[in-house]
Symmetry: C2
Subunit: 140 residues, 2 copies
DNA sequence: TTAGAATTTGCATATAATTGCAATTGCAGA
DNA sequence: TCTGCAATTGCAATTATATGCAAATTCTAA
């Protein structure tokens, strides 16, 4: 049977308290003082465990390492590929879509932290003022 | 200016021809015979480049390494966390949602390969026949 | 063509993440 | 409380991915 050990509890508590996205290393740095024996393997394994239990979520926002956060108020993100800004999307805006897909494909969706990439309004405008520069050999 | 080099072109061609999801290593193995000097660093850098150009897409389906594929017919996936099965979702089913979010947040969505995790119908039923087993200390 | 500038590649190295295994810890039952 | 089993952890080693830099390649324009 699986166990909620000291390491796992402290890691979860940290994410829950911080209420911020943290990388595995940030979690390690935050918990280490309270659990000096803590090892990076344990951090990785605990994060995987907590994710699997649905207590935290992990997201790759394309900049370096994946980030983890406690699952409390379900939400999602828009990540701008231009300025790297991360916006929050309320679950309310996504719910309907999930339900539709669930029904259509008879599939229960667990994903609770959707990451959508694209361009924010500012970056889109900035880009419109440049001529497209495709690699030459791919030009029509 | 960026260049469509031999390595990049062969890597893209491989993904385009195969029409399958491939890991970085599978791409390497497939291209190496035609370009013996090929190096894994180049594979990783080329895949990153092609992704950035929007020619291929990358997805982490939770099983081992990320997988790459040519962007041709836009589609998405449902990944069952029980049996690991990967279903295809037509873009038609997603389009409306993307448009709604785009308008609501004034954000141009580029994401073209959405991965949603959950449970397929079979695995959901299988699970319903088990008593939930939460870690003891988290029980209410 | 050919020279020169700019980009990309290979290689070596660094960093991130995973895994096998023995030691430790947590839990259930006596 | 104590005992014994099973799950977890630390550590070392492995694998996956990223990066600095010099050499090679590609492109441009003379
Ligand atoms: Zn978030
Ligand atoms: Zn932006
Ligand atoms: Zn796909
Ligand atoms: Zn399934």
């Amino acid at each position: 049977m699986s166990r909620m050990t000291t390491a796992r509890a402290l890691i979860y508590e940290t994410l829950e308290t911080t209420q911020e996205h943290m990388t595995a290393y940030q979690v390690f740095d935050a918990v280490k003082p309270r659990l000096p024996s803590l090892n990076m393997s344990t951090v990785y394994r605990s994060l995987e465990y907590l994710t699997h239990e649905g207590l935290i979520s992990v997201a790759d926002v394309g900049e370096g390492m994946p980030i983890y956060e406690a699952v409390s108020n379900t939400h999602h993100h828009l990540v701008c590929e231009g300025c790297k800004k991360i916006l929050i999307v309320e679950h309310e805006q996504v719910k309907g879509f999930f339900e539709k897909i669930s029904q259509e494909y008879d599939f229960t969706i667990h994903t609770n932290h959707l990451i959508l990439f694209g361009l924010c309004e500012k970056c889109r405008r900035a880009k419109e003022n440049q001529s497209e520069e495709l690699p030459k050999s791919l030009h029509p």
